[in-house]
């Protein structure tokens, strides 16, 4: 029954946009086909209405094509978490230690082949969340039909958010499906140093030929192209040739091509022909999911509270998140304590200062005011109106957490009477953060706009 539904989904996917498909059909399942009465399980009641009114006929046709007899079609709310709900047995510290040990032993080193790909990156161990689902659905469609809809595939986002992982996963998956494909992954810096070497050795032509024979070219960290005009021209030529032949081109960068100063306008345009996909900072829930997936991959058992603690305290990127996670696992092995015990003992200090672009208090205040649609004067005034007050407190909170300003200084910045008001404000927001999901999202978004 499951297979039939997977087939039907594959058929539906061809007919609607990836955004629509991943929104409406993710987490659907076929519950029953008894006597031609089809029941489909969906995430919540909002989906029922939508699927019934917009996609009924599509679903019916797809199922009929898969030889399913249909008399009626109905939908039922069936939350996906219910089926996979994990057993909540309490694991003893000994268990956890033993398991950590076994994974450490069994972990194998991954191989690098002449494709430049590292086989440890797969699409299945890429954790999909709201921060990256669009990019991932595009990646999956590339795997199904390379060189087709998303060509060139341009992926951008800050460092440590999984760009390399995702593009290498595409490469690996393409090879897995068709080992005869010529896939080549290279960071742009290697591309131009190889190019320079080739030209120096008088083998410019061979260099060019080697690339033109590829079926899929993956270029990583494109932003480092800065100032390499000759290499850029060469890349541009290769790009055009491959594009003409409908070969898949994948490029990653930490920003949009138009924001890279010395990139030729023609090239910048072409790179985003098929759209630019971004990877964003994961939200709290996504971070938890990433850590859980990582734990599963390693076979490590870690308490949910410990995962939440790490997710809450690492706010820079996924690389740091995983780094912190590994450190804690390692420490727990060395010290013979479970991760949660370690955290409760205060042995782990996740909040260590991370290098972030320097920002001024003025910027912070500006961004907060802008986010809450207030003028700076309004926000830093005396108003006691609830939403203005909250905005002011968020500003205080961010000034304290992000800039580590003294409360006296903050009082002067946001124009409140004295440091006790500031302390109260910070405390208020910190407490609210624990219960208030929206506030947490808002603060994440403000932070993104400050550092972005």
């Amino acid at each position: 029954m499951y297979d039939v539904w997977q087939n039907a989904l594959a058929e539906i996917e061809q007919q609607i946009s990836p955004a629509n498909f991943s929104t409406w059909f993710q987490d659907t399942s076929l519950i029953s086909t008894q006597d031609g009465m089809i029941v489909i399980g969906v995430k919540n009641t909002f989906y029922v209405k939508q699927l019934r009114s917009r996609y009924s006929s599509l679903i019916t046709t797809a199922l009929k094509n898969n030889n399913v007899e249909i008399k009626s079609l109905d939908f039922e709310v069936k939350s996906p978490t219910k089926n996979k709900s994990r057993s909540r047995e309490i694991t003893t510290p000994v268990d956890i230690k033993k398991r950590i040990k076994t994974i450490k032993d069994s972990r194998n080193t991954s191989l690098t082949t002449n494709t430049g790909l590292n086989s440890k990156y797969t699409i299945d161990n890429f954790v999909v969340g709201s921060n990256n689902d669009l990019a991932v659905s595009a990646a999956r469609s590339i795997i199904d039909s390379p060189g087709d809809r998303y060509n060139p595939f341009f992926l951008y986002g800050g460092s440590g958010l999984g760009k390399t992982h995702l593009v290498q996963a595409i490469g690996n998956e393409l090879l897995k499906r068709n080992p005869n494909l010529k896939v080549f992954y290279t960071p742009i810096s290697h591309f131009y140093s190889d190019f320079i070497d080739a030209v120096r050795a008088g083998k410019g032509k061979e260099f060019n030929l080697k690339f033109r024979k590829l079926d899929c070219l993956i270029i990583d960290d494109f932003q480092y192209i800065v100032g390499k005009e000759k290499s850029q021209e060469e890349f541009f030529n290769i790009f055009n040739d491959l594009y003409q032949l409908n070969k898949q081109i994948i490029v990653t960068s930490d920003r949009l091509p138009s924001q890279i100063k010395t990139v030729d306008e023609r090239l910048a345009n072409r790179l985003t022909w098929a759209g630019a996909f971004d990877l964003q900072l994961p939200k709290f829930e996504d971070k938890c999911a990433i850590l859980r997936a990582k734990a599963e991959l390693l076979g490590a058992e870690i308490e949910p509270e410990a995962i939440e603690y790490i997710a809450e305290n690492v706010n820079t990127n996924i690389r740091d998140l995983e780094g912190e996670f590994s450190t804690i696992l390692l420490m727990s092995e060395v010290r013979g304590l479970t991760p949660l015990e370690l955290i409760n003992k205060g042995a782990v200090n996740v909040n260590r200062p991370t290098k972030l672009p320097s920002i001024s208090s003025k910027q912070v205040i500006e961004k907060v005011a802008k986010y809450y649609q207030l003028s700076i004067k309004e926000m830093c005034g005396k108003s006691r109106v609830a939403h203005i007050k909250t905005a002011r407190q968020v500003a205080m909170f961010l000034l304290s957490k992000e800039l580590k300003l003294s409360t006296n200084k903050i009082a002067a910045e946001v124009g409140v009477k004295d440091h006790t008001t500031v302390m109260h404000g910070i405390k208020k927001i910190s407490t609210d953060l624990k219960l208030n999901f929206t506030l947490r999202d808002q603060i994440e978004e403000i932070k993104e706009s400050i550092y972005g």
């Binding site: 991943s22 709310v77 999901f437 929206t438």
Partner: protein
């Protein structure tokens, strides 16, 4: 489509609805607000597929039609217009022209056909409750504090509405504490439903001074909150809530009456010393008349405070100070009752006179 409305009213409506339309979601249209005019009735709608907010906007004049516009952009534009300006929005070919005195702009929208249709309440089978807005607000705040944000246990991320002996109760727990309150004394219809805490946050936010009563309507998988011009529709959490009535300890041999503010003060004092050990403090009853709260850490030293009250039975229990502070803040009366039976079973806190609210905290084992 055409509407004419004061900046103030439009701004209020947009602030209400635009909050849930600013998430980064897969479907771009979810960042838009749907504006629909149907026979002089104007509604502005946003949804994030977990909930939807609908604001029925009173307008001075209108023409039928429908469009969706980027919610955040629209809200920001309108909020920056002068307060007393009259705003006119007209739409044609998925573009909206917004005029307000000297200010005008054209916003590119998209077709309303792509906007998700909202699920509907079946009014015939629905269960409806009406509650005074202040009672609702206070009760939700008192209970919601105990919700969990562990998404692996969905049932605990919401507030449970249920009927016990014909009275409506709400409850929430995160596995370490539980808050429960009776909000309507006598109701006719039974209900058992978990409303996501995130949706309730939005409901609380939509409350303003002009609203007196809230109407809550439950359907199979859906709940609708109607307050003033605003309607909030939310999914219900599809999970079963723990049978919490069993958890409320009924027979406790240790019962103490305390002044809430005094207990709050000594708890905060003790909490200062227990920060490094996860906020654990010890409460002890000593005959004939002392209730003592203490905390000891090797790092900072120790703290011990006594409150005078009548003690009939001696006992000792270790608690998380943060949970105790939260609980005390949720109690209304100045005199409260604290009950427990031994150091391993949960502690019960409630108001002395009004017994509608129960707060339970699991002890720490130390």
């Amino acid at each position: 489509m055409k509407i004419e409305v004061s900046q103030e009213k439009l701004n209020k409506a947009l602030t209400n609805v635009s909050r849930i339309a600013v998430g980064k979601v897969t479907l771009p249209i979810l960042n838009n607000a749907l504006i629909r005019v149907d026979d002089k009735k104007v509604s502005i709608i946003t949804t994030n597929l977990d909930m939807a907010i609908i604001d029925f906007l009173p307008v001075s004049s209108s023409e039928n039609g429908v469009i969706t516009l980027p919610a955040k952009l629209l809200a920001e534009f309108i909020s920056n217009l002068p307060k007393d300006e009259k705003v006119e929005i007209t739409s044609k070919n998925n573009k909206a022209t917004i005029k307000a005195g000297k200010y005008s702009s054209v916003i590119n929208g998209s077709s309303a056909d792509d906007f998700p249709e909202l699920p509907e309440i079946n009014e015939k089978t629905a269960v409806i409750y009406k509650i005074d807005i202040n009672d609702f607000k206070n009760s939700i705040n008192e209970v919601m504090i105990a919700t969990s944000n562990d998404l692996t246990r969905p049932a605990l991320t919401g507030v449970y509405f249920n009927t016990i002996n014909n009275s409506l109760h709400i409850a929430a727990t995160d596995g370490y504490r539980l808050a429960e309150k009776q909000i309507i004394n006598k109701v006719e219809n039974e209900i058992s439903a978990i409303v996501p805490a995130s949706s309730l946050q939005e409901v609380l936010r939509a409350i303003n001074d002009s609203i007196e009563e809230i109407e809550i309507t439950f359907n199979d998988d859906l709940v609708r909150f109607r307050l003033g011009e605003i309607e909030i529709i939310s999914k219900l959490i599809d999970a079963s809530f723990p049978d919490y009535q069993k958890l409320i300890p009924k027979e406790n041999n240790i019962k103490v009456s305390l002044n809430r503010d005094e207990l709050l003060r000594v708890t905060k004092l003790a909490a200062l010393f227990s920060r490094s050990i996860g906020g654990s403090i010890i409460c002890e009853t000593k005959k004939p008349n002392l209730f003592s709260v203490k905390s000891i850490t090797n790092e900072f030293g120790e703290n011990n405070s006594d409150i005078e009250t009548t003690i009939k039975e001696e006992g000792k229990i270790s608690l998380n100070s943060r949970f105790l502070i939260d609980a005390l803040n949720s109690l209304e009366e100045s005199e409260i009752d604290l009950e427990f039976s031994n150091s391993l079973s949960p502690i019960l806190l409630k108001n002395k006179k009004n017994n509608k609210y129960n707060h339970i905290i699991m002890p720490l084992n130390s």
